[in-house]
């Protein structure tokens, strides 16, 4: 039998390496093999251990602890019931069964550090087909037929960009993969690289062939050390097999590939800023046009695509563009991967055909809200996107339909929020982010986001003024119009969508100095209900600033001038005598 431990970054963070070590210590007593895989995408069940008999998965074990190693060994030694208590339940199995996996098709199934496992699963077959039977124009036509659109956020048709780069004059062309994954709350690109790096390499090689590039670069964000290590290994292995470098697969197509580690700047996800960064400069966006297809890396024709975009390419070449476009809606084809997180029961990676609804993803697959709380909103598209409220849960996943809500499809971050999240503070969180990440090149973004952040800061502190909402809206529209790059142009979205759908929360903060979600500390006040207070003195002892006074066995009182709203009294009272307002 074969024991496979899921070792993506999140599995490792949940303790998968310790589990691996514990099993490794015992494995010599068996005739089984121990290996690892990347991220299967069921992050809420990590660490995960799969047991295979030949090709068949016979047990999937979840939330495994190092102490479970003995049970696992007992199981492979014949004790059929040894692992029953850690086996995945049917309800959780459905998390994967309800998905359609194309970009993630190998994730969690193969060892990402072994090229042979990738090859055994049809790996590099698409590249072979392309190089031996198709012209670059055929490739572009097939991508056009598939309807594949960029998964990095904007959703621009991939064939169009490839064709523009192909048509561009010049011998020296570059293919670049954007693995900067800047949306804080998204991690599908990391998962693809850590779990199936050869799929990315294969997709990129096909892209390079299509546009006529001899050099390819992957720009990976600095926070993803494991992804960089696995991709480095994969590139080495592909070179050894003659799949990268000179005369690939014996044809006259040659292409080199290298990795460039980013250095921490959100704006470097923007394609022209990324190019500046690749050139060793400050990552400041260029004015477009000219587009990278005409003048990109070293001012040569270049094409940039996102990791997930490339991860679909080999599948499309093998299965045909029409198989891909058979899935989805009128204007959005194929599947999309989402990173489902926040206040969700089952957080992880979800790949579904376009056209499903948000409700399908959050409730049917994700199992609904943590602790059965009330769903309030889902944030999509990160700092460039917006918050979609409960009454729009039946919106279908499609570039147009999501855009109509004021949010965007984005790169796939889906952060779920419940009633305890304050939407004004959420908007402030994003503006704080964009203010810090603005590169400073254009005034609208540099100063505009700062002014907006100041106003939002004021509101969440209870110092909002009449007219603040209108002032915010005015700033939003002028920043959208005036900013140089996508960072500034989309920075107002989190504010606009929260004003659109949660205006009452803004008004409560400004007019009544109240935070309906009880989240903005400055606007919370605690009071002790004398009817319920037993005078146990616990709250007075817990209060770090001695704001609570009272005699033993008589009702206590909070001095609101001294109170720092830490909530210690509220969290410790055994008689529910303290109310938060």
């Amino acid at each position: 039998m074969r024991i496979v431990v899921g070792q993506g970054s999140c599995g490792i963070a949940a303790g998968a390496s310790k589990v691996y070590d514990a099993i490794e210590a015992l494995i010599p007593n068996t005739d089984s093999e121990l290996t690892f895989t990347g991220c299967i995408g069921m992050c809420f069940l990590e660490p995960i251990v799969d047991i295979y008999d030949g090709k068949e998965l016979i047990k999937r074990l979840v939330k495994v602890q190092p102490t479970d190693a003995e049970k696992i060994i007992a199981f492979i030694n014949g004790d059929k019931n040894a692992v029953n208590d850690i086996e995945i339940c049917d309800d959780d199995k459905a998390f994967l069964e309800k998905q359609t996996r194309i970009a993630l098709r190998h994730c969690g199934l193969i060892n990402p550090e072994k090229i042979d496992e990738y090859i055994a699963d049809d790996g590099y077959a698409a590249l072979k087909k392309v190089l031996t039977t198709m012209t670059p124009e055929d490739v572009i036509d097939e991508i056009k037929l598939s309807g594949l659109a960029g998964r990095g956020g904007a959703g621009f048709p991939t064939w169009f960009k490839w064709n523009a780069a192909r048509q561009s004059q010049g011998e020296e062309k570059y293919l670049i993969c954007n693995a900067d994954e800047g949306d804080p709350g998204a991690f599908m690109d990391r998962a693809v690289i850590e779990s199936d790096p050869h799929n990315l390499i294969e997709g990129m090689l096909i892209g390079a062939y299509a546009i006529g590039a001899k050099e390819a670069v992957v720009y990976v964000r600095a926070e993803y050390p494991l992804a960089i290590i696995r991709l480095e290994k994969a590139i080495e292995q592909a070179k050894e097999k003659g799949l990268l470098g000179q005369n690939i697969l014996g044809t006259d197509f040659s292409c080199e590939m290298r990795i460039k580690a980013g250095a921490g700047a959100f704006v470097c996800g923007e394609e022209t800023a990324l190019i500046e960064s690749l050139q060793g400069e400050r990552g400041m966006p260029r004015l477009k046009p000219p587009f990278p297809a005409q003048s990109g890396y070293w001012y040569k024709p270049s094409n940039i695509n996102n990791v997930e975009t490339f991860a679909n390419v080999a599948w499309i070449m093998l299965n045909g563009g029409s198989a891909f476009s058979a899935m989805g809606t009128e204007n959005s084809k194929g599947t999309k991967v989402f990173a489902l997180t926040g206040k969700i029961k089952k957080g992880g990676l979800v790949e579904i055909p376009m056209g499903k609804t948000l409700r399908d993803v959050i409730f049917d697959i994700g199992g609904g809200i943590k602790n059965d709380a009330q769903f309030k909103a889902v944030q999509m598209g990160g700092p460039s996107g917006g918050c979609i409220p409960a009454h729009l849960l039946d919106t279908v996943i499609d570039y147009k339909a999501l855009g109509a809500t004021g949010a965007i499809m984005g790169s796939g971050g889906m952060v779920v929020m419940d009633e305890s999240t304050c939407m004004v503070s959420m908007a402030q969180f994003f503006l704080d982010f964009t203010t810090k990440e603005s590169c400073g090149k254009c005034i609208h973004c540099r100063i505009g986001t700062k002014r907006m952040n100041e106003i939002l800061n004021r509101i969440v502190k209870g110092e909002g003024k009449d007219g603040d909402i209108e002032l915010l809206e005015e700033l939003c529209y002028s920043i959208k119009d005036g900013a140089l790059c996508g960072l500034g142009q989309t920075a107002p979205n989190p504010v606009l969508t929260t004003i659109k759908y949660f205006r009452n929360e803004y008004e409560a903060h400004i007019n009544e100095k109240k935070c309906p979600a009880h989240s903005c500390t400055e606007l919370i006040s605690y009071t002790i209900n004398p009817e319920l207070c037993k005078g146990c003195t616990l709250c007075a002892r817990k209060c770090p600033v001695s704001a609570i006074t009272g005699e033993l066995k008589s009702a206590h009182k909070i001095d609101n001038d001294k109170c720092i709203k830490c909530g210690a009294c509220y969290n410790n009272c055994k008689f529910n005598a303290i109310t938060m307002d």
């Binding site: 990590e46 800047g182 250095a263 997180t341 957080g347 969180f429």
Partner: protein, 163 residues
Amino acid sequence: MDCCCNNSDLSLIMPVLDKYADTKGSLITILQHAQEIYGYLPTDVIYYIADRIGESPAKVMGVATFYSQFRLKPVGKYLIMLCQGTACHVNGSQKIEQAISDELGIADGETSDDGLFTLKNVACLGCCSLSPVMMINGETYGRLTPDKAKEILRTLKEKAKEE
């Protein structure tokens, strides 16, 4: 501000410069290696790099200050990268920051008096479904609570004492 008399051992960075100084567009790579070697970017190293690649120190400084990865001051033995990304924010990363501050007496960007810990807020470590998350010297800790975070720091303190 410190001048260029940090007295860093410049011979350490020479092999890196021999390899990259003549390849255009390598400045960020050189700075990444330099930070790996020295733990931060000392001013004299920045001057030396500028000299070797034929750029002004201001230009090198401009790049070094643009990216959040680069540090101009030494960091503690343990670098705490606390995630303040969206998922971690929604799941209470501010409370973790408070707990770290309480335990170590430092705020974002500061180093504790004993030189052991530096706290740095970052946006998303890619382990969002285990949020809130922090990474200390490459190891990721997920599903944090204020108490769990404090306990991790105490264990590291103990470990440092023993060494």
